[in-house]
């Protein structure tokens, strides 16, 4: 199916999200799913980004605001903890940074080419005015 040209489709064609059978999708986390080559999960939109979010877990309170408001399923939450960002699917919108309530923020935007380690080392201090 993945190799069928767009004009070679038959009416009623079907794309499969997974290889084989999954009985309980809602109970299967992404890392345990057998994604088919037709699932957009296997693709990347990383090259859309001009800026990228960097996550500093030292300040994170695991409130999960970033998880619920990320439009691109790019905040990885496991066992009620925020554990990182899916950089293949993040489009760099910056919503997660805006909704992060900590002071200083646990997420900040940087130019796409910035070095993550250097930015983490220079993380801004608490803003006393807030």
């Amino acid at each position: 199916m993945a190799n069928t040209g767009w004009d070679e489709f038959e009416i009623g064609a079907m794309l499969r999200s997974f290889d084989g059978k999954i009985d309980d999708i809602a109970g299967t986390l992404q890392e345990d799913r057998a994604y088919s080559p037709n699932n957009s999960f296997v693709a990347s939109v990383a090259d859309w980004r001009i800026e990228k979010p960097v996550f500093n877990k030292d300040y994170c309170i695991d409130c999960q605001f970033c998880w619920i408001y990320c439009p691109d399923i790019s905040i990885i939450a496991r066992d009620k903890k925020m554990i990182g960002i899916d950089m293949d699917h993040c489009k760099g919108c910056g919503i997660c940074v805006e909704v992060c309530p900590t002071n200083p923020k646990s997420l900040l935007m940087f130019p796409e080419q910035a070095e993550e380690e250097a930015e983490l080392a220079n993380w801004p201090a608490k803003d006393e005015e807030k």
Partner: protein, 318 residues
């Protein structure tokens, strides 16, 4: 009836395994997908979905990819409602005949459509589905414009907005007609459940969606979906814009049960002036010129009037 998913707080909600995938082609900061995620994650039951043509359909089914981890029907601009109603009818027929392969599963039937697809072109099809009381949920992703084709006005576009087919200029303040009261029209079908939701108020939204899933019969949901591209604001501000829309009461959050029982579900502690909502969006920027400034006052009066109306409906219980 299957058991309702327990979602006490956001931490618990965040253990959900998303059934909507990334690397779809929606704009950065698009609210459509925030709404879709909150709806899909509100249940663990199987899903039978459909979407009318519009940003959501076009951007999540770009060959060779699908972004949906559930049965999902790619259909026309006007008829996601009837496509999903058809699937629901077939399911019921098979159930009656005892021919379901897995009769113990409880699929939920949900159709999505933009405001163009719902307030305009698919209007009569949705009305039919609601009138026949199919056991399904219809969700409008209301960004008040035909976003996917470049910003033409729809009957959901509010007065004074500048759009490609109702542009503002020296002789016009933009859109001339007021937004259609789709919630009122759908409630007048006397369907079991009608609700307006906003993704910033996720708890209110998830509660309403779960109520909708637990309802036997037709459910209509209108979801406010701020569009960074057509409302003209920075993608990072999608949630701030959604906050302004609910807290200025431009998009009041309420539900209607059986067409009679109107309940306001969110009363902002600090109501924000409508002017702030308008000022945050490029589509209204001309309203701040002297020539059109009177429109801002009229906007506030209209919103106040609508809020008073909703309060009266709530009180009257009719």
């Amino acid at each position: 009836m299957s058991e309702m998913k327990k979602i006490k707080n956001l931490k618990e909600f965040s253990t959900s395994a998303d059934r909507f995938e990334g690397a779809n082609l929606l704009c950065p900061g698009c609210a459509h997908s925030i709404i879709v995620r909150e709806i899909l994650n509100a249940t663990n039951d199987d899903l039978v979905l459909g979407a009318s043509t519009g940003c959501l359909e076009v951007c999540t089914a770009v060959y060779p990819y699908t972004s949906w981890d559930a049965s999902w029907i790619h259909i026309g601009f006007e008829n996601s409602s009837t496509a999903v109603a058809g699937a629901e009818s077939m399911y019921n027929a098979l159930k009656t005949k005892g021919r379901l392969k897995q009769p113990d599963r409880n699929p939920k039937f949900v159709a999505f459509g933009g405001d163009g697809a719902s307030y305009d072109i698919g209007f009569q099809w949705i009305s039919g589905c609601m009138e026949r009381n199919h056991n399904m949920m219809y969700v409008v992703l209301d960004n008040e414009v035909y976003a996917n084709t470049g910003g033409q006005r729809s009957s959901s576009t509010p007065i004074g907005g500048s759009n490609t087919t109702s542009p503002a200029g020296t002789h016009s303040y933009g859109e001339k007609h007021n937004k259609k009261d789709m919630m009122g029209i759908m409630a007048a079908h006397n369907i079991p459940y009608t609700a307006q939701v906003a993704p910033n108020k996720w708890k209110d939204m998830v509660k309403k969606i779960q109520k909708g899933f637990a309802t036997e019969g037709a459910v209509f949901i209108n979801a406010v979906s701020p569009c960074t591209t057509e409302w003209k604001f920075d993608p990072k501000d999608t949630m701030a814009l959604t906050d302004l829309s609910t807290d200025s009461l431009v998009f009041p959050l309420y539900e209607v049960i059986d067409g009679k029982e109107w309940n306001i579900t969110y009363r902002p502690k600090n109501v924000v002036p409508v002017e702030e909502y308008l000022a945050a969006q490029g589509r209204f920027k001309h309203l701040f010129k002297d020539q059109y400034k009177h429109m801002i006052k009229e906007w506030q009066e209209r919103v106040d009037e609508n809020w008073a109306y909703l309060n009266r409906r709530e009180e009257a219980r009719v």
